[in-house]
């Protein structure tokens, strides 16, 4: 589980860069300094590090990027091309990691706080510093440390107690690499008060031919009896590499639903960590990855049951075509006090081409006895008999395949609650299935 320390130059080069960039007067300078030290100690994952066994992020950073090169401002004139039409929401747009007020619209500011994180750090300093960097573990992962030391901006949401927010909050992360390589580090902090509820959606898109790398971290604290729905739609074109970490801290009787849709990109690594630090918690994690070309999607999830009587359920499904690779690692920890835990996990994969690969590692670590835990994972191809059945009824082969794959993905999609988002995803997926598979 420990990430092997590399003695490569990239780590020290980047650490030196982080030291140089740090603004000594910033109110979170101490946090950033500690994170830089942690980054130096952990080091970028070595080639055979267990946690990055199939995901050669370090090598890519070394080969494809010049770390000291500044990121261009980015010009995305057609922001509308990437937005979800018809969705009533508060919107924040980040272009190459920089907040773009002109493209953003925040209406609901009376009952709750929605701000770019930099602004929040200036205006709500105490509240931000109370939570920032307190959950995502800089000592365990180099990318989390890097982000904590170098983040430029992101979302800050504070939902006060008893406030149920109807309008979702959407973040569009656009990467424009048409004027050279892009490296971004965005950071989100979500604080949900008691009995409150909020839905947040992040969407990733990109343009430009140069490589772009993003390292984003989201920390969320969900108080007693509160609810959080967190969506992530990763739909990047081109030479797009990203490592993302979401860390959610849950208190008693809170409810969390996370959705991760990976539809495109060169390399996508998602770390999703749920800490169930309370009783009566309910958590659902859904994931869907539809991969073509040489995309690599790596989902590492952790559910940490720390108190009794909680429930967690995880469903990740994937379809791999071309020379793509799907990696899944799902850890379930049940700590000694977490009696009466119910934890379930399933990972199902379909390989469409002879050159696609799946590497999956479901992992249960259980120290309490009165629990019900299970995991299951499968890998296979489409049932030939079913395809034959459809074809014998006059449906051509590709449509038959698309139909079956659509049904396969439906199990994840059906859990999406917002109708506009659901329809948008439904269209996106069925277009993909008909076009690419």
């Amino acid at each position: 589980m420990s990430v092997t320390v590399t003695d490569n130059n990239t780590t020290s080069e980047l650490a030196a860069l982080l030291d140089k960039q740090r603004v000594a007067t910033a109110s979170d300078a101490a946090l950033r300094k500690d994170a830089t030290d942690a980054f130096r100690a952990v080091g970028l994952p070595a080639a055979k590090a267990e946690e990055y066994r199939f995901t050669p992020v370090t090598r890519i950073l070394e080969k494809q990027f010049t770390l000291s090169q500044p990121t261009p401002a980015g010009q995305v004139s057609r922001v509308k091309d990437f937005t979800i039409a018809g969705l009533e929401a508060d919107t924040l747009v980040f272009i190459n990691g920089v907040f773009s007020p002109a493209d953003s619209s925040i209406q609901d500011t009376t009952a709750l706080t929605i701000l770019p994180l930099q602004e929040a750090l200036a205006t709500h300093t105490a509240l931000v510093l109370k939570h920032l960097g307190q959950y995502a573990d800089t000592a365990a992962d180099a990318f989390t440390a890097w982000n904590t030391a170098a983040w430029t901006n992101g979302l800050f949401v504070h939902v006060p107690d008893n406030k149920v927010v109807e309008r979702p909050i959407i973040l569009y992360h656009l990467h424009d690499a048409s004027e050279g390589q892009v490296i971004t580090a965005t950071r989100n902090l979500i604080v949900v008060g008691k009995n409150a509820e909020v839905t947040i959606l992040e969407k990733y898109d990109s343009t430009g031919a140069s490589p772009s790398f993003s390292n984003q971290v989201t920390e969320a604290v969900v108080a007693e009896n509160a609810g959080l729905n967190l969506y992530s739609i990763q739909h990047d074109a081109g030479q797009r590499y990203q490592v993302g970490t979401i860390r959610i801290q849950q208190a008693n009787y809170s409810r969390v639903n996370t959705f991760t849709f990976t539809l495109n990109g060169k390399l996508v690594r998602n770390n999703l960590q749920l800490v169930l630090d309370g009783e009566g918690i309910e958590s659902h994690m859904y994931g869907l990855y539809l991969l073509t070309g040489d995309t690599l999607a790596d989902n590492h999830t952790v559910v940490d049951h720390r108190k009794p009587n909680s429930f967690s359920n995880e469903l990740y499904k994937g379809v791999m075509d071309g020379t793509s690779r799907g990696v899944f690692n799902g850890k379930i920890y049940v700590r000694p006090q977490a009696q009466k835990t119910n934890a379930f996990q399933a990972n199902r994969n379909i390989l469409l081409s002879p050159t696609a690969i799946v590497n999956t590692k479901p992992q249960l670590e259980i120290w309490a006895d009165d629990v019900k835990c299970s995991h299951g994972c499968t890998s296979g191809q489409l049932d030939e008999e079913a395809v034959f059945y459809l074809r014998s009824r006059g449906i051509d082969k590709l449509s038959a395949q698309a139909m079956m794959l659509y049904a396969f993905t439906g199990e994840v999609l059906t859990n999406v609650k917002n109708p506009v988002v659901k329809e948008y995803l439904d269209n996106l997926i069925s277009q993909r299935l008909h076009k690419n598979f």
Partner: protein
């Protein structure tokens, strides 16, 4: 709850049955490991030069390797210089037949329930008995010899069948495969060798019984089974050790080589001394077991019942090279008190239409930690490969842990892989169901545990199944936390 705990206490506190020692004079090497010791062992065994060279190479490689740390077990660092690498019971003459064998040794094995006198045996099992570093007797050699089956101690095979040994030794588990296999290759002292010729179905179970007796010694044996085309053999392995306060090291290597249409079934009931209730003493069991399904349609089946050892580090694996070959792994691993087990299997699918099946049942009680670690790897060429894995864990008591680390790597789209794992304790409703039908709590638990492990126990040859069931009962009955 308190009553349950009492039942648990009573039943899990049963003493280790084979903890006694035999007072035999031994001939042993001084403590420590260096080239001289290896030369000493080689000279003791009167080995040909090529084997000594092989050992030396292995030693050289071992000195460059590092002890693996990835397993989910914790133990103080082993001082490899504090182990006696060779210890043999002193015998006045080299025994030509059973009458010459030291009666004290025969008695030792009789006490363990292993009779070395053929006439007295009712069951048709041929035994190779190994105490500390050497094999003392092999039974039914002649009966087997008539069929062309070679079954003897490893040392004897080196003398009598050097070609076979030279050809197959290290072909399945290379010297530098891992830290412990390299160590074993350098200092192995004895073990069993078995060759089944073409088309022969071995008429009886072949068995090796390992006993560690002397203090401070390590046991490093090597077993090599070669099954020629179309042959069949069922092989059993049993082991026990006396109760001692210090930890003893056991690092064995088992290699199975199956040619076209051959079937090998390998069963183990591992009952090394697990240490006392406080976790003091016990055997460190670091074993490399691997089978190669070299020929088409060959089959290797591993069955293991792991109840002993302070620490178990063992992954009996199958390399499915031949087309249509098949690998199986059935395991019941029981840990109690402070035992730690990290065990599982590897199924490497290389050939077309290869099949594998994994059934692993872990039971943890007391303060023990029980891990399943396995890999199913479907290589690019393995068209139509099929795997089914099931690993279940049963927890008894709130101080123990159960862990599963399955790795599933698929590189061929026609492969079908299923994996499932569950962790739970014995349900109160199940117990209640039995109680209301007049079955007392203790028997109910025994019933449920036995049912839980049945799928694996069914794979064992009958004599072993009985022993295994007894062992299970001894370690666990009544453990509802």
């Amino acid at each position: 709850m308190s009553k349950d705990n009492q039942v648990l206490e009573e039943l899990t506190s049963k003493e280790y049955e084979h903890g006694w020692t035999t007072d035999i004079e031994t001939d042993s090497a001084p403590k420590g490991l260096n080239e001289d010791i290896i030369r000493f062992i080689s000279a003791k065994k009167n080995e040909p030069a090529w084997l000594l060279e092989w050992r030396m190479k292995a030693y050289q490689q071992w000195t460059k390797m590092k002890e693996p740390t990835w397993a989910n077990v914790k133990f103080p660092e082993i001082n490899y210089q504090d182990v006696i690498y060779y210890s043999a019971p002193k015998q006045k003459v080299t025994p030509k037949n059973l009458e010459d064998v030291d009666p004290e040794l025969i008695k030792t094995f009789e006490k363990l329930g292993i009779s070395l006198t053929e006439q007295k045996r009712l069951t048709g099992i041929a035994v190779d008995a190994v105490i500390d570093s050497v094999s003392v007797a092999t039974t039914f050699k002649e009966t087997l010899g008539e069929l062309g089956i070679i079954f003897c101690s490893f040392s004897e095979a080196v003398q009598k069948h050097p070609d076979l040994v030279k050809k197959y030794m290290g072909s399945v588990v290379p010297v530098n495969d891992n830290y412990f296999s390299a160590l074993n290759s350098a200092v192995f002292t004895d073990g069993s060798f078995c060759y089944i010729p073409k088309g022969v179905r071995c008429p009886m179970e072949l068995s090796t019984y390992f006993r560690i007796n002397a203090a401070n010694t390590g046991q490093f044996e090597r077993t090599l089974i070669v099954a020629d085309e179309g042959s069949y053999v069922s092989y059993l392995e049993g082991c026990t050790a006396p109760q001692r306060d210090e930890n003893q090291l056991h690092a064995a290597v088992v290699e199975i080589y199956a040619m076209k249409d051959a079937t090998v079934k390998y069963s183990t009931v591992q009952n090394w001394y697990p240490g006392n209730k406080e976790g003091k003493g016990g055997i460190y069991n670091f074993v490399t077991k691997r089978g190669l399904c070299y020929g088409d349609s060959s089959k290797i089946s591993w069955t293991q019942v792991e109840t002993g050892s302070a620490i178990t580090w063992k992954y009996p694996s199958c390399i499915l090279r031949g087309d249509n070959s098949m690998g199986e792994f059935y395991s019941v691993a029981v840990t109690n008190n402070y035992q730690q087990a990290d065990t599982g299997t590897k199924m490497i699918h290389i050939g077309k239409n290869t099949k594998s099946r994994i059934v692993s049942k872990g039971i943890s009680a007391g303060h023990s930690q029980n891990s399943y670690r396995g890999q199913v790897h479907i290589m690019k060429r393995a068209e139509g490969a099929r795997n089914f894995s099931q690993c279940d864990s049963l927890l008894m008591g709130d101080q123990c842990g159960a862990h599963t680390f399955p790795y599933i790597d698929v590189e061929n789209n026609t492969a079908r892989i299923e994996h499932e794992a569950t962790t739970s304790k014995i349900g109160e409703d199940q117990i209640f169901y039995c109680l209301q039908r007049g079955i007392d709590e203790e028997s109910a638990v025994a019933l449920i545990v036995n049912g839980y492990a049945k799928e694996v126990l069914n794979q064992l040859p009958m004599e072993f199944a009985v022993e295994a069931q007894k062992l299970l009962a001894l370690t666990l009955e009544g453990s509802v936390g």
